[in-house]
Assembly symmetry: D2
Homo-oligomer: 341 residues x 4
């Protein structure tokens, strides 16, 4: 299957290129970028020097010759290319936020005008562990955001199994700086970022909030509103989601864990771990680790989920979703864990 990557100069695109090169059923046919089109691949993706020759091509959705195109573009831009590609019948795996939400008014509220309204709602939301059925044969996949992936993998089993109260859920997330993308800014400037931790876009202002609420609401059959607080911590990769919820009466810690084990028993890429997860353990791989505690003093559930934001949180999940869509083994090309430590 011939694959092209749009946005290959970004971090998500770079990891996609690497994963496609190692995937037994995918053949990388072209890399595309916006401002860096025309530059040699070796300069843009220096770790691939000697492996990939040639240059980045422009984002030409009309002419790109591939069976599947991965779109690692900003929201807005993605929709425009998705529209062209879908019309041409090309399979699209979109890593942007353009097709993750189901309700156009929610999209409008958080993102503004949509770039391809007639396509809105047409993609399968590819949080694989909760979408295997819908993904089968899917030709248009919206890959979940990195924070939603960490939050949803952690919380969904508890919501599904009705072990927690739906009011008052809190997600306190800690992310590595690569989540901010490849464009340098004060936020990613090492002297500012390397010895400090800080929150940003708090109190209901981060755009991943409705995406987290959407799946939990759907699983519970009730509109859920939760508090989401992202933080930047001084590391390159990884997200730890620490989630808080009130346990329903009589719920035990064992039940929390069992609910997750039931949900993820057949999932090759989610592991329910006994210890508290560490983002280092999933760094460089496409696995998620989740873990559960009950604070008996306060009756509160404290749940943890760790992922690599660029793999299970972005590119690894994109491949995983395509694998399911194609009927391949779910973790094909994603088996290897990351280098450790």
């Amino acid at each position: 299957m011939r694959a092209a990557v749009f946005g290959a100069s970004g971090y998500g695109g770079a990891e996609l290129v690497r994963l496609i090169l190692g995937h037994p059923h995918l053949r990388l046919v072209s890399l595309h970028a916006h401002s860096r089109a025309g530059e040699p691949v070796a300069r843009v993706l220096p770790s691939l020097q000697g492996l990939l020759n040639g240059e980045l091509e422009p984002l030409d959705s009309v002419r790109v010759d591939a069976d599947v195109v991965f779109l690692g573009l900003p929201h807005g831009a993605s929709a425009v290319h998705a529209k062209v590609l879908r019309k041409r019948g090309v399979r699209v795996v979109d890593l942007s936020a353009d097709f993750r939400l189901q309700d156009p008014s929610v999209y409008a509220e958080w993102y503004g005008e949509h770039g391809a309204p007639d396509l809105f709602g047409g993609a399968v939301y590819g949080l694989v562990e909760y979408a295997r059925g819908a993904l089968k044969g899917a030709e248009f996949i919206a890959v979940p955001g990195c924070y939603p992936t960490a939050a949803l993998l952690t919380l969904s089993p508890l919501v599904e199994s009705k072990l927690i109260e739906l009011d008052g859920i809190i997600v306190d997330a800690k992310s590595g700086v690569s989540g901010a993308g490849r464009r340098p800014s004060m936020v990613t400037h090492l002297p500012h970022a390397a010895e400090g931790v800080r929150a940003y876009k708090v109190a209901g202002t981060h755009r991943h909030t409705p995406e987290i609420e959407q799946l939990l609401s759907s699983l519970s059959g009730r509109d859920i509103r939760l508090s989401f607080t992202p933080h930047l911590v001084p590391m390159s990769r990884g997200i730890l989601a620490t989630a808080y919820a009130t346990a329903k009466d009589g719920v035990t810690e064992a039940q929390l864990r069992e609910a997750a084990e039931r949900r993820y028993g057949e999932s090759p890429l989610v592991e329910v771990v006994a210890e508290l997860p560490d983002t280092l353990w999933v760094r460089g791989g496409s696995r998620a680790h989740v873990s559960y505690r009950l604070d008996a003093r306060t009756g509160r559930v404290v749940a943890f989920g760790a992922i690599d934001n660029l793999l299970k949180g972005t590119s690894g999940q994109a491949i995983q979703a395509l694998n399911v869509a194609m009927g391949w083994r779910e973790d094909l090309g994603l088996e290897q864990t990351g280098p450790w430590p």
Copy 2:
């Protein structure tokens, strides 16, 4: 005033030595340590090479000749030396947990047997901003823990001003690794600690929990139980406390901020900041930054407090408390902010 430091080889002790050297009314007369007694100061505290000669002395509370002794020792050990020193009439500033709690049964539950039960309750809890009256003239001071300092400076104005519900408070704290002390361990081993974030001692098991609850309960007149979740993030110094609470009906974000400004208006070492605080901004100094947000979607207060764990969280606060006890300017010797960035 002649000052001695017990536990000078630890991080809290090392910072105390530095602060005492720069303090106009204190004269450092001796440094003491347990296992490193007899070693040259220059080897144990390499940044002080050329400034301090001589060797570390043993922990001899019977003979130490000083007007004030700072105890930077583990809990248990501290009580034993405090007892001897207090009997001799020496002023004691204790950085351990031995004299922070007021209720002996709470101490017993979280720490076990106490090393000097007759002295229990005899120290002033030195969270200066909430203890200026009690500290005046105090000869025996218990310096608050690092996490409690960050959590209490953040939450106390809201509790005092009755702006938040007392049930369901959550403190999600992120700490630099120096909080684990100078003894190497797997937790502080750079290859394990440098590219990962993880929680530890969660769900009501960290010993700083009752210390946070104690002051909030006292301020509110009601027993408060809260959830405290400490995390280690890959940096050396700093604590960010992210606190969550349900706002009382009708409370506005402005009221949150005003409550803090009222409380800290005259405090030279706590700043209510408009932006979200960054531990980098307080790194290397004895100031705290606090900030407040109201999430209108969920009615939840999200409050932030940032400190340097070894300064405002330990040694800077020790000096600050002594300043108040002696009637000196509260921030004497603590004026300078840390190097930035």
Copy 3:
């Protein structure tokens, strides 16, 4: 081919386990360790949770049932097990220093008594790019040290091609902290290691010095003595070797580069790059990047080599050498680059 790993709890061993799991011709049959024998694999190697069950076994060279055993043990210990395994006819890939040197008196000078003197000199020194012939069919391989790998890949083409003076060569190396191994110490303690850079074992005292000199002397036909200065920099993985040498009269920068390109033209795992190499570019992969500059003002060659110390510097090279020994494609199981960034 059934493979066992001795020393699987160390960093080199952990990476070997990961590489073996991803290698098409190797099957991991058992993991062995000294002090952590009996512990669950999932606890010792947390990134492999869910992939590997069972426990670590003791270091039993008499009974281990495998076609090849990788020895990731300290020098001294390694020799003892190598002896037993070789007597049993088991293929051995030794990652220690025990069989890297050819001259027993040099070993004695730098390491002391040898653990299996009769086996000394019996292994092929597996710097693959310089040992393909000798490795063919080899049953006993000594994997080069991490610093020698970086230094030798960088300097050898210049020595071979007689482009530099043999006197006065300097290797100034910068290593990530994982090179110090998994045992915590002051040197690896994050608060000491994370915001500082320092040299150690300088001025002809680091044991990798004679290993670097050995191959360069052999290539030049003359005894070479060089200055080697290792530094620890605040990162987890990677080595950058900056090498200095006096250019022979009339030598050009192009010649330096061409010599390396000639040498590495057919090498899948060494890339001669135009830009100055960055250890980040080779992090998590088994590739080396080398690059060459001539300082026309001083007539000095400045050469750079970057590797991942745990992969091309240890475990990746072990697999690469075994691949050549077995007649497999040299980079089998090592194709994928590391996660980037």
Copy 4:
């Protein structure tokens, strides 16, 4: 003495502001910046929130009302303001490269056209330990660059005392990323900078090269050309210079150390240390640590110098030079070491 800081929004300027606030004889009268003029100080220098009110003013050298102006500006810009200020008789401490070199043709070669040629050569080069006489009463001071400070403090005693050959000197320097300034770029982007080490501007292309050569040439009475290789290591602050030179016949390690002790015996801010220096030990302070080794195997001197690039390498040295110019104690306001660890 009333002090103003031009370029207060940069890192050098920010540290100057902090040092001036803590200096007993200096009073900070105004902060000036180019693009950030008009912004509140609290936003531009967030660690000073609550300590400094008001806004940054424009770079108005015609009207600034101060006894001394510190110029923390890029080269080129600095000369223009220095000219106006000097004409007005205002004391100038210039942190740029504009007045460090003595030979206008060297300036032209490395920097291009000079902004105030008639002023060229008019400043005292303020490497204090080598310029105390010239600095006395000086009204115009050129503060040395960060790399030259580290290199020169390390090498100068050896050159002065004629212990090393003047040919073949090498300086391999490792710098924290703050040396690249406050403007974000790919080089300072945390995901690229945090887990890699790399060289830049090598082989005689870094502009600090002639500045290092200038003083060594002057001390030796002979034109010296050396190799200077700067590296960026993943930390915020600090420079370690590792210098290599051939020892003259018969020179011992003790002689190296004694030469430095003679030179720095009366220097409060340079310490000759026995152990290998660590930039962490001088981080946040204005001290330098130097140390010397002789590699008996190769006859090579390996010398080390560690500084904080923003303090002894920039702002601390600026204050130190002014102290000497004014006849104040050399380390006035610079006594305190940095926070440790």
